[in-house]
């Protein structure tokens, strides 16, 4: 095989892996949008907040340490422990569930039956609040997230593939980050779990029922408020997973919340209401932007990854606004 061909394969594989990361974020959007028709602008910030909380708990950081020190003139920095990763993840999950309950109590409950745009505005407010609150709680410095996920290129894969190219060519094997492989497996597991949950459990059925028809769901005894808490908790969990993966890849810092912007084109491609759509949309964007950069990029000066996804989304908005898998929007006139 020619090295050129192998490079293309490598680029595609890396694109798929990057796509998985986008899908993880998009998934959180879809869950909330399906169940309550709310476009949750705060999803990206939730991922950032979850990652910050995880790092904070793991490293024994005292929440609001800066604030406490400034007000009381104390000098606390940390509890001085280092928790095992799994334990810290479970505690963080607890924090995200608490967050879901608070969102329902303090925001959603008061905005029942409001226009979607009002709920959207509320989530924008929520996003800004969480941003500041996270900084206040854990500090705004860039943190390293280390929960023991392997990273760096997979040597095994390089060894395996090095002989594939023709004799004498400059080919040193495929480079794929182990972190990306783990992220793919985790995303796969997450999607399978969510699917089984929504298909075969009482609560899963209730979630789908609420997604379809609020009134009918009420009439069979489903409490909307409870379902909202559950949905926000689940998407808090998805945000945590996305936060861990992205945090391990590029550090926990403010720009993490901007990955939410990358999820937008994914949603437009996949449709706002489809879980498989979020996954496949993410993969298409991931592969698309890597391949485009690889093939067309050099011709037009590169750096296409910044805008390719949005242009693709724009084309979709023109020709297929409901996305690949979304429900067709039909309105009675």
């Amino acid at each position: 095989m020619s090295p050129q061909f192998l490079y293309t394969i490598e680029v595609m594989l890396n694109g798929l892996m990057a796509g998985v990361m986008y899908s993880l974020v998009a998934l959180g959007f879809v869950l909330i949008f399906k169940a309550s028709g709310i476009f949750n602008y705060a999803q990206g910030v939730m991922a950032l907040f979850a990652a910050m909380t995880l790092v904070g708990i793991q490293n024994g950081q005292v929440p609001f340490a800066h604030l406490v020190n400034a007000v009381f003139g104390t000098n606390i920095h940390g509890f001085g422990w280092n928790l095992p990763a799994l334990f810290a993840i479970i505690l963080t999950l607890g924090v995200m569930i608490l967050f879901a309950i608070l969102v329902e109590r303090l925001i959603l409950k008061h905005l029942v039956n409001q226009e979607p745009i009002i709920l959207f505005m509320a989530t924008i407010g929520l996003a800004f609040f969480m941003e500041g609150f996270g900084d206040l709680m854990w500090g705004s410095d860039i943190k390293v997230l280390d929960v023991g996920i392997p990273s760096g290129g997979s040597l095994w894969l390089e060894d395996k593939t090095i002989g594939w190219a023709a004799e004498g060519s400059n080919y040193y094997g495929m480079y794929i980050d182990k972190l990306d492989i783990v992220a793919t497996l985790v995303a796969l597991l997450l999607v399978i779990t969510l699917t089984l949950f929504s298909q075969y459990t009482k609560t899963g059925r209730a979630l789908r029922a609420v997604a379809d028809d609020h009134q009918a769901a009420l009439s069979v005894g489903i409490s909307l408020r409870r379902i909202w808490v559950i949905v926000w908790a689940i998407s808090g969990f998805v945000a945590l997973v996305a936060g861990i993966m992205w945090g391990a890849k590029s550090g926990v810092q403010f720009s993490l919340s901007l990955i939410a912007l990358k999820a937008l084109p994914v949603l437009i491609l996949g449709g706002f209401t489809s879980i498989p759509g979020a996954i496949i949309g993410g993969l298409i964007i991931g592969v698309g932007e890597k391949l485009f950069e690889f093939t067309i990029g050099p011709l037009i000066g590169g750096a296409t990854e910044n805008w390719f996804a949005y242009v693709l989304a724009l084309l979709f908005l023109v020709f297929r606004p409901q996305g690949l898998f979304g429900e067709k929007i039909i309105e009675r006139v």
């Binding site: 949950f197 075969y200 459990t201 009482k202 609560t203 059925r205 209730a206 789908r208 029922a209 997604a211 379809d212 028809d213 009134q215 009918a216 769901a217 009420l218 009439s219 069979v220 005894g221 489903i222 409490s223 909307l224 559950i230």
Partner: protein, 268 residues
């Protein structure tokens, strides 16, 4: 004793539900004014009236979707105070909607299964970590659902997504979902609207069978007078949000106020 158990212990022919002096308005629009009537256990009670008479509003009050500004709702011997709609289902009241409200993404089977919601006790964590009891419960509920599917003669469409079904069958699935809750009081909002004669006959038969076989009390809204007179035990007539008649089909049919409301009054 929960409201459901209390309702279950009421004798046939005794009062199950009573609404007293219900007044409901939306802003300046009065939907209901001083409406009172009762529903006896085991009867088919119809609410009729011209368009805009407040029939659906009345059903929504009973169902807890609307909270009237004035008046009392008594169910199973105790007064309800601004209940939450999802709690009403747990008290043993199920309903169907005028504009079919099914879960379109689900199959017929899943729709009816969702109707079993109030009978599922296993919580989320139990379901996730300890499948045994949850599975047993799922199997029991599934059996009940299959019974209802047999009863309504919709075996052929069990796995069909309900969004693809014709209108008449959707209405039947919606009835199935309500029946799955094993309700004590079943509220039907125009169960026969938009149906042809044959479908109406089927639906009438199902309603009477539900009453006879399950002993379910039924309150229904219907426009087809022939059907109403055939299947109901007693009829309430509303017009412009006020009650203008109440009694057996024969009494109502011959009531001058009712005839005027439907046919209009000649102005000399």
């Amino acid at each position: 004793m929960g409201a459901r158990a209390a309702a279950q212990s009421i004798d046939q022919g005794a009062e199950l539900l009573r609404v007293d002096d219900i007044s409901l308005s939306f802003g300046g629009v009065k939907a209901l004014t001083d409406v009172s009537f009762d529903v006896l256990r085991g009867e088919v009670r119809a609410i009729i009236g011209p368009n805009g008479a407040g029939k659906s509003s009345m059903l929504n009050v009973i169902n807890g979707f609307y909270h009237p500004q004035q008046g009392e709702v008594w169910f199973a011997g105790s007064q309800r105070r601004n209940p939450k709609p999802h709690n009403i289902a747990h008290q043993g009241i199920a309903r169907t909607f005028q504009n079919i409200a099914l879960f379109n993404g689900m199959s017929t089977l899943d729709n009816i299964m969702t109707g079993r919601f109030t009978h599922m006790k296993q919580n989320m964590l139990m379901q996730a970590f300890w499948r045994g009891p949850a599975e047993r419960e799922e199997v029991q509920n599934r059996e009940k659902v299959e019974e209802i599917i047999d009863f309504l003669e919709i075996q052929a469409i069990r796995k069909t997504p309900v969004g693809r079904l014709p209108y008449g069958l959707q209405k039947r699935v919606e009835l199935g979902r309500a029946l799955a809750a094993e309700p004590i009081l079943l509220l039907l909002d125009e169960p026969m609207a938009g149906m042809n004669v044959e479908e109406k006959e089927d639906m009438s038969r199902f309603i009477l069978d539900v009453k006879d076989e399950f002993g379910t009390t039924i309150t229904l809204i219907e426009h087809d007078m022939g059907v109403v007179m055939d299947i109901s035990d007693r009829v309430v007539v509303l017009d412009y949000g006020r009650k203008i008649g109440d009694g057996t089909p024969d009494e109502v049919r011959n009531d001058q106020a009712v005839i005027d409301a439907y046919l209009g009054v000649a102005h000399d």
